[in-house]
Symmetry: C2
Subunit: 381 residues, 2 copies
């Protein structure tokens, strides 16, 4: 029987466990399964759990739960750790290594494979995509993003009504989303917007430095029109001609956050309005109540497809998702070379989406799989 090790790496998504369960179900009968604890840390330290009946029975109960049920996390990707990972895989006589992860995880997978090859160890490696930021190259989108997008869209729609009702007290709110260096998530905030009164009234994304004057003018116009303004900004956005300063290093990793405070100060200063910044927080990637059904189904399918590619002997690949046609939404799954994923680097929001929000919303719609727009506010003056 093929000996397969699978792990989850990087920040969890609300559907990362569905991918795990999809994969496991498809390979169960013809593989010896080993679960890697806490992502790359488990590889480096040799923390494997034998996928016996007990754990497999329990696993299914976690398919629809947030978090990464094997443990995930971050771990330094240094040469020594890559070597230790290969050593541990060898020791367990692992034939196939499968990692559910994002950009960094795919790079680590490539490095492990290279190290294995240089030792003459024939290791099959397969990557299964996940990210809430949608910044993974070589795929139309990745599981996890649809649910995070739904969370951001719903939150913007709901908070917009709250802010509108409170406009004689507070006029401006700035919601800061995840997204790292990409604006996909922040742009999803406009998904349900169907009138001028509801927010967002301005979206700041990393791909397009924020021109202060434009921001101020948009907020001012929105407050004049509807008494309030809702700004959505991606954690990686920054002002034009200014460096991104809102970041700190946590355990060796750059964590973004704080641009909403800068905008809050700018708006208070320039417009004299009451403004408050709000970080949307961990719910973006873990809120079980706002999981997108299509996202969950696709996450599960990505697991199944990865297992099929494995059985076909494919290696050094990631499962990629593509749209089969343009007239209606149907997703196809195909293998894409890890090299290609990595060389593409971070996937940013395309200019044709930045310039054409309706076309972005059309692209996004099947991923969010919901269309519960609100009627226009009852009272708008």
């Amino acid at each position: 029987m093929r000996r397969v090790a699978i792990g989850q790496a990087g920040g969890p998504t609300a559907v990362i466990n569905a991918t795990l369960v999809g994969f496991v179900k498809e390979v169960l009968d013809e593989s010896s399964l080993y679960f890697i604890k806490n992502g790359y840390e488990g590889l480096v330290k040799g923390n494997f759990i034998r996928g016996d009946r007990t754990i497999l029975d329990l696993l299914e109960n976690h398919a629809n739960l947030p978090g990464a049920c094997l443990g995930s996390g971050r771990y330094p990707r240094e040469k020594k750790n890559i070597e230790l990972s290969v050593m541990n895989l060898k020791k367990k006589e692992i034939d196939t290594l499968v990692i559910i992860g994002g950009n960094g995880s795919m790079e680590a997978l490539r490095e492990i494979k290279n190290e294995a090859s240089s030792q003459g160890y024939d290791l099959q490696v397969i990557g299964l995509p996940k990210t809430v930021d949608n910044d993974l190259g070589g795929t139309d989108h990745a599981p996890g993003f649809g649910s995070a997008a739904k969370y951001v869209a719903n939150t913007t729609r709901d908070i917009s009504r709250d802010l509108h009702a409170m406009r004689n007290f507070e006029q401006v709110r700035i919601l800061e989303t995840m997204g790292r260096n990409a604006g996909w998530l922040a742009y999803a905030s406009a998904f349900y917007k169907n009138n001028d009164y509801d927010g967002p009234h301005f979206i700041g994304i990393p791909e397009q430095p924020i021109v202060k004057e434009n921001l101020i003018n948009s907020v001012d116009a929105a407050v004049r029109r509807s008494g309030h303004a809702l700004v959505v900004v991606s954690e990686g956005a920054h002002f034009a001609k200014e460096k991104l300063t809102h970041k700190k290093v946590v355990n060796g990793r750059t964590v973004l956050g704080g641009v909403s405070t800068q905008i809050e100060n700018l708006i208070s200063e320039k417009l004299g309005l009451s403004a408050r910044g709000e970080l949307l927080g961990m719910n973006q990637r873990s809120c079980s109540a706002l999981v997108s059904e299509s996202d969950r189904n696709e996450a599960y399918a990505v697991g199944i497809q990865g297992a099929r590619f494995m059985k076909e002997g494919k290696t050094d690949i990631m499962v990629s998702m593509y749209r089969k046609n343009t007239s209606s939404y149907e997703v196809g799954y195909r293998p894409i070379a890890l090299d290609k994923v990595i060389s593409k680097g971070e996937s940013l929001l395309m200019e044709y989406f930045i310039d054409d929000l309706p076309s972005y919303n059309k692209w996004l719609k099947p991923l969010i799989a919901d269309s519960s727009n609100y009627p226009a506010p009852l009272i708008t003056d």
Copy 2:
């Protein structure tokens, strides 16, 4: 026909519109309705909208939407404004004033009634309760709280799994809830907790100043046991023997917030762990996806009951909710004197709940009306 003015005041809840729609439906046939725009501001400025067919037809579409669809907000409760309110009510020949609101709104209603009486103007006044903080006296609980509690409970449950999965990167997260000077909402965070691994591992509430040593010990023990610790703290909580400093005045109102940052610093300093504070934000009172069905139904029923008490000629009262029996949950509605509501002041979490979380959870269960506990984490060591 009786001329009835109704308005919404203070911070919205996810179900405040249901109360409005319940009331309106019940009085429609025998009253001339006037909607007050933006809460007390509308009373002071005389901003009324005639409840004609057009707006009544639209209104129902807003019953299940967050925000306050008439506009709510805050407005200075000074003598002059109370006089102006009475003047405007008189001018419109209003027989009955109905306000959906919390503590402050009930006090204002009382003041308006007193001013009207002193002018010999026979004004019927009725208060309909709403608050996410559950700090309104004279009622078992108030509409809006159940949904906010469900939001806090779900968020804690979901984020706990996320944090657990990331424990090699970040060990401690501090979630800061709403609640003003009461711990009801923060205490709801433990609703789904059914094992030692999941959070919350410590709850800080205003009723019980936080002893730093206890907090540190709880966090330390949780991290040792399960690798992570989730702390939940109410915005109004503070350290024992220290003054509450995390507040600022926004448009004349004290806004709390920031205790999570103090805890974050304390934990980093004392335990050397990576800790991050997170404010749960406006979604607590506006997330449509986590509305409690029973809360929505009760909010609607409060509107209907208020209308019935109005038709019975009751005045100077608020609709109060009580539990009809102890063996099963059944809510009754009765009028309670506004004077009594006001004299009771802010309703705080009772000591017998603080000391007995299971008994609090039992009390809370029918309000959240959900029991989707998670199984214990798959991997706990």
